[in-house]
């Protein structure tokens, strides 16, 4: 399925790279974009679990910042999974963000999971959108036909042979960043739901969207959505009916 060799980062648009494990690197402003981190997920759903999602996401960002020399972290909405969380989890989120602030500027775009308060109690100030290098950065839960947009929200992924991998989608006027949280199977980019959601952003054909899958370490360019759809639909070998084949001794 892999068309080209995997790489640590793959360009999606001019000055914008897809980076494993699902971050966007904007060279001009030296911004690392992370979508749908859903921090404190385990806590918000009421699980008596360590909030692994918070620690993991923060350390991924710290590592990336050191690697690229980032000046800014930009969270593209759904920073936290919900505004209702335990005090301990909220402190963990806050201290995690503090650790990032020690490295670079942190910008928090609010998403639908931040709720009506836009996550104020836990996150402090958030913004509804940001603009970098001529791209509008919004969460993506609301329709927008403005210029060029970078969105999250959809948790795009590709499924094959029982495994799921988060993917970037990139077109002329839109880039969709995969979710950083591991707790979401995501929306299959080959399915109709994903395409319908993207039509609200001016996407008219599947052929115009390039897919780049990501794992923990590497990113893999997979070609266009339409090509991928065809490839994954390929029928398997025809089989004979059992009646013809009886058990025979093995020689």
């Amino acid at each position: 399925m892999l068309r080209e060799a995997a790489a640590r980062r793959v360009p999606l648009a001019e000055g914008i790279d897809a980076v494993a494990p699902g971050l966007l690197w904007m060279r001009e402003t030296r911004t690392i974009v992370a979508a749908d981190a859903h921090l404190a997920y385990e806590d918000v759903i009421g699980g008596a679990l360590p909030t692994w999602s918070t620690g993991d996401a923060i350390s991924v960002l710290q590592k990336a910042a050191q690697e690229f020399g980032a000046r800014e972290f930009l969270f593209l909405g759904d920073v936290i999974h919900g505004a209702r969380m335990s005090e301990g989890a909220a402190l963990e989120v806050q201290s995690g963000l503090e650790r990032l602030r020690a490295l670079a500027l942190v910008t928090l775009v609010a998403g639908n999971h931040e709720g009506r308060t836009r996550g104020a109690d836990v996150l402090g100030d958030t913004v509804e959108f940001a603009e970098r290098s001529g791209w509008l950065l919004i969460h993506g839960d609301k329709q927008s036909l403005a210029g060029r947009a970078i969105i999250g929200h959809l948790h795009p992924s590709v499924r094959s042979d029982g495994t799921t991998a988060p993917v970037f989608l990139a077109g002329e006027r839109i880039i969709v960043v995969p979710a950083l949280t591991p707790y979401s199977e995501g929306l299959d980019v080959c399915g109709d739901d994903c395409f319908e959601a993207l039509q609200a952003f001016g996407v008219t054909s599947r052929g115009e969207l390039q897919v780049v899958a990501t794992t923990e370490e590497l990113v893999y360019p997979l070609g266009s959505v339409s090509g991928l759809r065809q490839e994954l639909r390929r029928p398997s070998q025809p089989q004979h009916h059992y009646r013809r084949k009886f058990l025979r001794p093995d020689r």
Binding site: G46, L49, P50, E185, Q239, H240, F246, P249, D250
Partner: protein, 865 residues
Amino acid sequence: MEPLFNALHPDVARWCRDVLKEATEPQRAAIPLGLERRNVLVSSPTGTGKTLAAFLPVISALAHRRDEDRLFPRTFALYISPLRALGYDVEHNVRRPLREMGLLERPNSPRARLRRGRIRETHVRTGVRTGDTPKDERRLMLSRPPHILMTTPESLAVMLAMESYRKTLRTVETVIVDEVHALATNKRGAQLALLLESLEELAETPFNRIGLSATISPLDRVAKFLAGADRECEIVDARRLRSISIDVLAPFPNAMAPLATVAQAAARLSREERTTLVFTNVRSQAELIAHGMAQILEPESVEEVNGQPRERQYDSRIGVHHSALERNVRHRVEAALRAGKLRSVVCSSSLELGVDIGFVDRALVIGGARGMTPTLQRIGRAGHRPGAVARGTIIAQDRDDIVEAAATKRCIADSVLEEAAIPQAPLDVLAQWLVGSVCYDSRLPIDDALRIARRAYPFAQLERSDLVACARYLSGGGVGEDEAHVRRLGFDGEALYGLGREVCAAFFENVGTIPDEQHVPVTLKGARHAIGRVEESFLSEIRQGDVFVLNGRTLRVKELTGTGIIVEPHAGRPTVPQWSSHLRGIPTALAAEIHTLRNGVAERFRSGGGSALEYLRTRYGLEGLEAEHVVRYISEQIALSGVPDATHPVIEIYRIDGKQCAVFHTGAGRRINETLARAIATRIFWQIRANVQLTTDDNGFLLTLPAGKSMRDETWAKLLHVHDFERDLLAGLRSSHLLRNQFRYVANTGLLVLRRAGGKTLRRRALSWNSQRIFERIFASDRDFPLLRETLRTVTRDLLDAPGALAYLESIEHPIRLFHPKAASPFTFGIITSSFGDTVVLDDRSSMVEALHQRVQEVLERRAS
């Protein structure tokens, strides 16, 4: 006159004399014990009056209380059943005698209104408290507690965690547990056992427990489950109240009967009787057999149409009854059967228990019931009259069925029944119980928790370290080194304590152990809508590339998403038994008896066929055509391959569709075979670095290598060894849906991941995906996490049988016999047939088996010439 009734309160005794007239066997034994307030387990078939046997002493005690003016507004008797509906039914059935005894309080009588709020009462109140009970009724129940309260284990857990209910439950004197057989063997039962110990702590005086059960074994172990690990419990064993006669009929000349022949045989037998019940193992078969039977016309059959006599075209006196039918259709069939309007009813297990169906002359069991207890239950439905002999015929569909039926007969004659396995110390249930125990904001010292829990039989062997590990996790200990912020209780090292309202709310929302058996969609690749749904448990049994049949279509699994199955149409044969888990494995004792039969015949056959027939006649009561079938079946097996026994398995190597495959004949039963197959599939993976397809049944398992791969005989023969068995099994399970799905249930029960939070139910899709992620994370960071260990215990002990498989591997003797039969050996037919399951039309299966058999005969003839 029945002297037994004299011991009851005069009002109760009068009613018994007028209405019951005579006591049944279980009543005679159980009522005196109930009156002495002793623990008692009553095991008897349906319709033997065991519910009244339990309630009469309770009603008598309440009547005495009334006389003594001690009928306080408190609950004195608890009735617990696994089914909500049963609670309502039993309440209805208890209110009638209470009313006729003049003891029942009518809800809104002037007397009831007058006495409302007063301390002493004169009439008995009953009530049902389940998840369905409306809020206002629950409130009323608190101000005027029912004297007899019907509930479920889950509602009991909720009541015991609420201070308001605890007050009313302090006075409980008797607890009746109905359908003990349906509780003892699962986690709900383990939960109930703990709850009854909590109630014991709460009660002002020790209460007695009365358990009601259908046929179950061993009774002493189930009695301990009911009464607690160290308490005495009397056993009323009325399981064999009626004598049973079982015939075996094999309506085929060669190897297997096609559907029409089976239906013909059933029709012929039913013609000899007034009414018959025909049991099939699966629903689809019930429809097909009924259809077949109805087609067979009776020569003298005449019906009246518009006042004119006319020859009957179709026998309309044959009904169908199974759980997939609408309830009103089922009720109509039951009523018609009771009224004698139907000649035969073809059913799946739906008429095995409970339902009142009147008199049936004979039970026909198609294919066998796969166990002693189900056989007893099915055939026990015939001759539903005290003293009458229950007559039944097992109609074998193939030669395996004859052997199984004969072995079942022998086991029943020897009173060997399947043993109920009671789960040992399930930690998820323990965790939930701990949270419930401190919900009402009390302190529970850890030593007390251990003492109380160990009194419950399933937890008698509970380790202190396990209890502490659960307490640690619940109090925010998290997983491995990582702590959690969400806490279910407080734990200071010595005692547990409650954390207030919010935690209680989470407990109340998620109480219970019943895994929500969901149905998952089956979608054709590329299609938007599902073409059907299968039970989620099926998802855990299949792998990518497996072929199964749904709604008459053969489908190949393209992708398993964890929340559904993506399939593509396929022309090949199915590789997995079936999607509905109706076909149960046979019990170990029966598997052992089948070994005895096969080897007994094999030994005698080698020394001349005559003595083999004599052996079948004397030991198994098998004669004529059926006995000849068995001898021929085993002689063919000897000619082509070998006969396995308890310590000598047989491996047969074949090639199917160019793929090498091996059939391991162990005869160890389905659970052990499934366990062995998974571990051995892992061993093969390490040998050839490719996944193996596996099919299991009661006699053995079939492993198929991918095309282009093969192994040498020595390698195959060396796979059955004890070394690192658990490691290999775990590695095999690690990638299976079985373990992950089970983790989800355990995580829900153990309150690690909530099913419902803040009044919302987490979407199944999200839940299963998250549980999978969480499972992987926990598996990677802490193998000792209590709920992870519990998941492994459930899978390897309750679902599979790792100790049994290990014991089997230890017992077998090497070198292992390995054959390359020239044609599929007769013992292999069963595995092939079971790999088709019920979803392939019976005729297809029989024609395949017949073809296989023909090939066997060709090989043998060629050899003879």
